[in-house]
Symmetry: C2
Subunit: 406 residues, 2 copies
Amino acid sequence: MGLVVHKYGGTSLGDADRIRAVADHIARTRRTGDDVVVVVSAMGKTTDDLLRLANDVSSVHPPRELDMLATVGERISMALLCMALADRGVQATSFTGSQAGIITDTDHTRAKIVDVRPDRLLAALALGQVPVVAGFQGVSTDRDVTTLGRGGSDVTAVALAAALGASVCEIYTDVTGVFSADPRVVPSARRLPKVSFDEMLEIAASGGRVLMLRSVEYAKTHSVRLHVRSSFTWEPGTWIAEEEPAMEQAIVSAVTDDTSEAKVTVQGVPDRPGIAAQLFGTIAERSINVDMIVQNTSDAGLTDISFTVAREDLAATMAVCREVAPALGAAGVSSDDGIGRVSLVGAGMKSHPGVTARMFRTLAEAGINIEMISTSSIRISCVIRADRVEEAVRSLHGAFELGAAS
Amino acid sequence: MGLVVHKYGGTSLGDADRIRAVADHIARTRRTGDDVVVVVSAMGKTTDDLLRLANDVSSVHPPRELDMLATVGERISMALLCMALADRGVQATSFTGSQAGIITDTDHTRAKIVDVRPDRLLAALALGQVPVVAGFQGVSTDRDVTTLGRGGSDVTAVALAAALGASVCEIYTDVTGVFSADPRVVPSARRLPKVSFDEMLEIAASGGRVLMLRSVEYAKTHSVRLHVRSSFTWEPGTWIAEEEPAMEQAIVSAVTDDTSEAKVTVQGVPDRPGIAAQLFGTIAERSINVDMIVQNTSDAGLTDISFTVAREDLAATMAVCREVAPALGAAGVSSDDGIGRVSLVGAGMKSHPGVTARMFRTLAEAGINIEMISTSSIRISCVIRADRVEEAVRSLHGAFELGAAS
């Protein structure tokens, strides 16, 4: 007998039938003897509907009030799930982020957890109850309601699993796990039974859509084993845990893709120290996240600096660049929103230097031009044309034989 | 410059347009120099929709979870109203019942306020902000979310007005005030510019639908002046305040009617002490509210005891009566759900004993039979057939010349 944390996303709780199905599964899990702490997201599109209402009412949206509004959805789903559990004879008690002891900083709409004080959850567990916690939300050190930003419910689940010493944090979603490539692009993609934290971080960072980077980071830091699985089929999914040194590593685990970014190039910058610091310092001040950065010295001591940002940040980024270009002595600024990125991720890559060359060869054979390259010890990413991304994913998935054994 | 409390009901906040209209009015009020604390209900039918969802999900509804669910609506409307106020340059901050310091007992779905600790509201006011508070909800001494039951948002508003020493508590609704009779029944009914607390209590208790008894009681106990007015026309409405001894009292202020009750008669009870205590003690234990009680000793030392209860409690009441009838030595129990009640309310009645006789004569002239009578110092109620109630209201309204001066 141990303690497990279950996290159910919006599609898993999409309607009354889904809520009853989730209650059945929690009741089954309880019957195995395990204690369960449940973290829920808002039902389906509840939060989107509320934000649309906010747009109807006002063009001004103070972040504190946005958070008050956006935390309503989880409260609805947790109260309903507790009722469905009661209907099955399982004693359940709902807890808001505040009641569950999720203490955050005061950065509304993207607060960070600063402390977890789960004494009310422990008291409920001691009474044999199932605590059902509102994900995505907390209470700030100023006693205001806060939200944790995108993917926040996963962060809540991982934080509680860490604080409560759970044996596993099960993330229930509408897919059956983490795949060797997006199954919509590569029909032969294989579900990965096990992925290391480092691989999962690279997969999340390079376009894997199942888990957000932040919750994986939190899980790695606190050594919380994750199990990503389906709330529709209930079959075993993908385990994400520490690497086991004894095990032979797959060289490449997954091909990921991302077409959500755009490229910005600052041209003809004098090649002297401090230029990059000045440029990216100014961009960071505007809270714009830069992803890949490539710098190439050209002739005559001039440099082109290219980098990628989320496409929705492109306009703001261009404005910043045009602002600082004169001070940098740059010749000009250009952008390209037709790019895409394809990446190979694998823990075994560390000891197999040939992967990079084989990746480039595979893309060359498909006639796909590489525009930018960036690598980590267990990932290689290439920026290519967006309209060639799916073809690149399929070629690489085949070349590295990542598909299901047939 | 003073402090006023505004309370807006569900129809006043029914959609985005209504929320903007309310924000305009609050901004206008602020410009007069008054500080404003706002209490809101849930938008339109939000809470009904949530309870329907609860029925879809489960047949079991633990009261604590019902309260968690039912408090969502006020959070939505207060966040939206704060956004609309920000849009108008008015700094507003929303507060849940808990954040506003509404401390209740632990009686979920019908909690009572045990303390009001408005320090966060005072801090917001000191910063020049408009605090917008979720009505109908509080936090229990066990730190759980509670609701105050029907009419709870009015109670929140009155409690805050008392705790903050507000000069008035303005109750904004979809009617323009308290009338001399229901305007749907009597088209010539007149809006009463001023009503005493005692009159308002009797009006609320005898069928007036504008304010719930509980909030009027709270206002009388704490001497909070109420102003009931329309959020659609914004015209001055009805003031409810202490009686002014110097003023000449109107003998009769209003005719009220109520067809929501049923009558129960316990027949042939031996006429000895303790019988009524035993009967009504048992009924009270089942949390059934009894309204009018009439007891008439008949011949042979036997008594009929008749009383009225809300029609939805009739089945439960009959079950109790049949249960205790043998112990009481009663001959039988009967019920009548075809009754209605018509009442005259007026502070001047105290010193004008002729009102009762004139009421009976008016009803007699209309050919309406009186089945039960009950009086207080400022009210006379007659139980009659439900299908004669509207006619009785019109006759009495005319006979006592309560209509608008023409």
